[in-house]
Symmetry: C2
Subunit: 308 residues, 2 copies
């Protein structure tokens, strides 16, 4: 059992969807005594203050870093190194630092290079998010019933255990994983799906034989699902693909092969191969629903939602 | 304004998701005086009877075809020709026959070859569906606020107008379109998205470096959306790709080009190209939501649904 609060003072750096959700969740579930949230952008800080996210939204990092016993970096993957540098002169020895970035190996390299050896850095990645960005998009239950992957070098350390308890207090299930393995698994379950969706929406908007109006009108045939994913934060996703180049290229290569085989089956009117491919994909949906990772409602229940 | 009922007796052939939804919708919205639903499969007929779908579920087509002033073929695209043959000896001159298939040119060819010239066949395609199949999956509001495309040879005919009114009575918006154009537009907004989703779920389940367990656990990163689409009726989708070979191969070729360009940008760490691609795709999501074709709720609102 987790006994709250897990930490005294948590400092979150980055006030976007993830950072502001973390601050809301930490407060709502009393995972710490005090929540400080900082963003390098003044406009974001004003928004956080107005939205009453966090107990404190300081204008300057120098005052608050030394107070924190947990610091969470919640900035786009490409800015993690700079975020670590910005705290490095103030952070106390023994402080736990973690992040919420979608790639792990490249972030760990960048952050560890910026921090002293006396700081305990543990990589982290909550598998949660929405297509919306910014402080107002955050909500306290974003991490509830979602997995959070942590990549501690020592899984049995007191710090790894404590960080696990913190995420559990926010409602997450926690898995320890090697950073390299994380990057390969997430390339499959998250990075490739996003790339595919961005590519499809790009293809459809650039077709000169089909108008954008037609694409919008007849999107309920399947296309609309892809536009949701392709509306995700562009800067963050650029950083993910640059930060997990190797993992993404591996699964992307496999995917293009598989797609090309389907293309060939269509060209040769090979109905048996198509039927076989389309049948084997049903089982995994059932398993995802059984695992509580998606809604069983048809169309995710959204069409019923909009009914009067 | 539509004055209900539009038809006297509607006969629906095929009792799956679409056919049973049509029967439910026709009854609920009183689009006709009497709804007859038939399925070649005895088990499906029993299910329809048990579910009280339709005013009548006959065991034999010969008795009911001549009663109908509208006949809707709601079977998989590859079976449309046979369904048309099964009614051809009984259908009365002047009867309107339509279908609900996802491809148009190949279905029109197959159905018109089977029916006499005295029958008025108008191709139709409601852009609506869910990932579930079978009689129990149907519901009366499936077509509400969705587009239905009709492909009459004469858009000004009384029959085209009447069929349009019928679909409007079910809550749909109706567009007239040339069959060839339908197949190209839907290749983009529906057929390609399904192919892409089937391919991705196939790739992920076949990865020998990532376990299925991991794919299921961490699916909330984006993958789960694709599994919904890839759980759609395999037989129907096989027929769609065989029936719209040309349209699908055209957009699929474009898509593989675009995806390959993104792959190259990742390989060369070309962040500017990636950011540019990922930014231009946001606008179309907004337009789809403004057009009432999707929910604006983050993650389609499904994560909030499951909260207690």
């Amino acid at each position: 059992m987790t006994i709250n609060p897990v930490f005294d003072t948590v400092l979150i750096i980055g006030g976007g969807l993830i950072g502001s959700s973390l601050a809301r969740a930490a407060q709502t579930f009393q995972a710490c005594k005090k929540t400080i949230i900082y963003d390098a952008d003044k406009t974001v800080r004003s928004e956080l203050t107005q939205l009453k996210v966090g107990d404190e939204v300081p204008d300057d990092l120098s005052d608050c870093v030394s107070q924190a016993d947990l610091i969470i970096l919640a900035v786009p993957p490409g800015r993690m190194g700079d975020a670590a540098k910005s705290i490095s002169s103030y952070v106390q020895p023994g402080t736990i630092v973690t992040d919420a970035g979608s790639v792990k190996e490249s972030i760990i390299d960048a952050v560890e290079a910026a921090l002293s050896d006396e700081v305990i850095f543990i990589g982290g990645h909550p598998i949660a998010g929405t297509e919306h960005s910014g402080p107002a998009a955050g909500f306290a239950t974003l991490f509830k019933d979602r997995w959070c992957i942590l990549t501690p070098t020592d899984e049995k350390s007191a710090e790894a255990k404590k960080l696990k308890q913190f995420w559990e207090a926010l409602g997450s299930e926690v898995a320890f994983m090697d950073a390299k393995r994380h990057d390969l698994v997430l390339a499959t379950t998250s990075h490739l799906p996003h790339l595919i969706a961005y590519a499809l929406v790009g293809t459809a908007t650039d077709m000169e034989t089909v108008t954008r109006n037609e694409v919008v009108k007849y999107s309920a045939g399947g296309f609309r699902d892809f536009t949701r994913i392709a509306a995700s934060n562009p800067e963050m996703w650029r950083d993910v693909f640059l930060g997990n180049r190797e993992g993404v290229l591996e699964v992307l290569g496999r995917y293009i092969e598989d797609l090309t085989a389907l293309k060939r089956a269509i060209r040769w009117s090979d109905g048996d191969s198509l039927l076989n491919e389309f049948t084997k994909t049903r089982d995994i949906r059932k398993r995802i629903i059984d695992a509580g990772q998606d809604s069983a409602e048809p169309n995710f229940g959204r069409d019923h939602l909009s009914e009067d």
